[in-house]
């Protein structure tokens, strides 16, 4: 199935789902308009031969990093002389549309056709919650736990949505741009 055929098939089946303005590399990329479309689209993709969920992740689009999150090393530039104050550059890229939202991404692979399709969805940043794909794809289990652990996104219907990578005493979700590190026993 060529990229154009796939786009037209998805368009015919799900009229609300549109082609993403910027594709991920040269893979066919579609953007969902609401989270309710995720499960029907995944079911359809699975029936169409995209039988493997390769990856799911998310990006926090809040914008410039707050240096408060890095209290371990105030002076992050080792070449500065003692007592000099580091000049903190803003991480903001001019012209980039920062906004309080989470951009989620799922990547489905067709093992037989050796093709891949990327599904994206933008959700509000506070209390982000999307349907879990664990009933459809077993591989979603740990990846959804990782996305929950690092970005604080809830997956409705996940059988065991617990922390997976960070220690149990870590407060907050480290990959959120407004994360502030709370001193723990490793900081002393």
């Amino acid at each position: 199935m060529t990229t154009e055929e796939l786009y037209s098939k998805i368009q015919a089946k799900f009229p609300k789902i549109e082609k993403a303005a910027v594709p991920v590399k040269d893979y066919p990329t579609v953007r969902l308009s609401s989270k309710e479309e995720l499960v029907p689209l995944s079911q359809w993709l699975k029936a169409e031969g995209f039988d493997m969920l390769d990856m799911l992740t998310a990006v926090d689009l809040l914008g410039p990093v707050d240096m408060k999150g890095f209290i371990r090393q105030q002076n992050f530039n080792p070449f500065l002389p003692d007592g000099a104050t580091p000049e903190i550059e803003s991480a903001a890229t001019p012209g980039y549309p920062y906004r309080p939202s989470m951009d989620l991404l799922w990547s489905f692979i067709s093992v037989k056709d050796k093709t891949r399709v990327i599904v994206r969805l933008e959700q509000p940043r506070e209390g982000t919650s999307v349907p879990s794909l664990v009933p459809l794809f077993k591989s979603a289990d740990w990846q959804e736990r990782e996305t929950f652990d690092l970005l604080g996104i809830k997956f409705e219907g996940h059988p065991n949505l617990t922390k997976i990578l960070t220690p149990d005493f870590t407060v907050g979700h480290p990959l959120r741009k407004d994360y502030v590190h709370v001193k723990d026993r490793f900081d002393e």
Binding site: F70, F76, L150, N160, T162, L175
Partner: protein
Amino acid sequence: MSNATTAAHDLAQVPNPALKSDQLFINLGPQHPSTHGVLRIGLTIEGEVIVKAVPDIGYLHRGTEKLSEVRNYHHCVVLTDRWDYVSAMPNNLVFCLAAEKLAGVKTTPRADALRVIMCEMNRVASHLLFFGTYGIDLGAYTPFLYAFREREMVLDLFEMLCGARLTYNYIRLGGVMVDATPEWLKRTSEFVEYFKPRLDEYDTLLTYNPIFMARTKESAS
């Protein structure tokens, strides 16, 4: 962690209401960081039967994404060395290729050739480590000594060129750290010629080794 019903650390509490009277909770691991990856498994056992296994991963999670948020691209090359610390060159390479693609930077043919040579040499060193320690895990100690004899030579070559033996930071954005000297190229060709017959030696030592055969044959199939 209000909904943490089956996280490994929850099962470890004493007394544990989730355990039945004839069940026992034991920790498998965590192993020391110098072993092949740290993993802890919280096991619930009934006699000798495992009724539940909850893996606890993340002991080697370094938070590279978070660290990269406050560093520029040159700083991040150092972080990539630590992803898979026995094959740091390919890690450097993939990061540099991605960053160069974003910036639209072209590298010179000589830099490309050096990158490929270094990555291949690192692959040899990394695979020597793999098969040597795999033998150790199965109880065959001898192949490890042979593998590390040759691995040492590759690491010496790396040390000669970039000064490091494990985390090289050699492949940089737009090229490599330093050009190869004629002496280095000569010694590398010598090593390649020396290494070719060694493969037969490893084959003799490990491939039909009875211990190796007994412990790998018809397993994990």
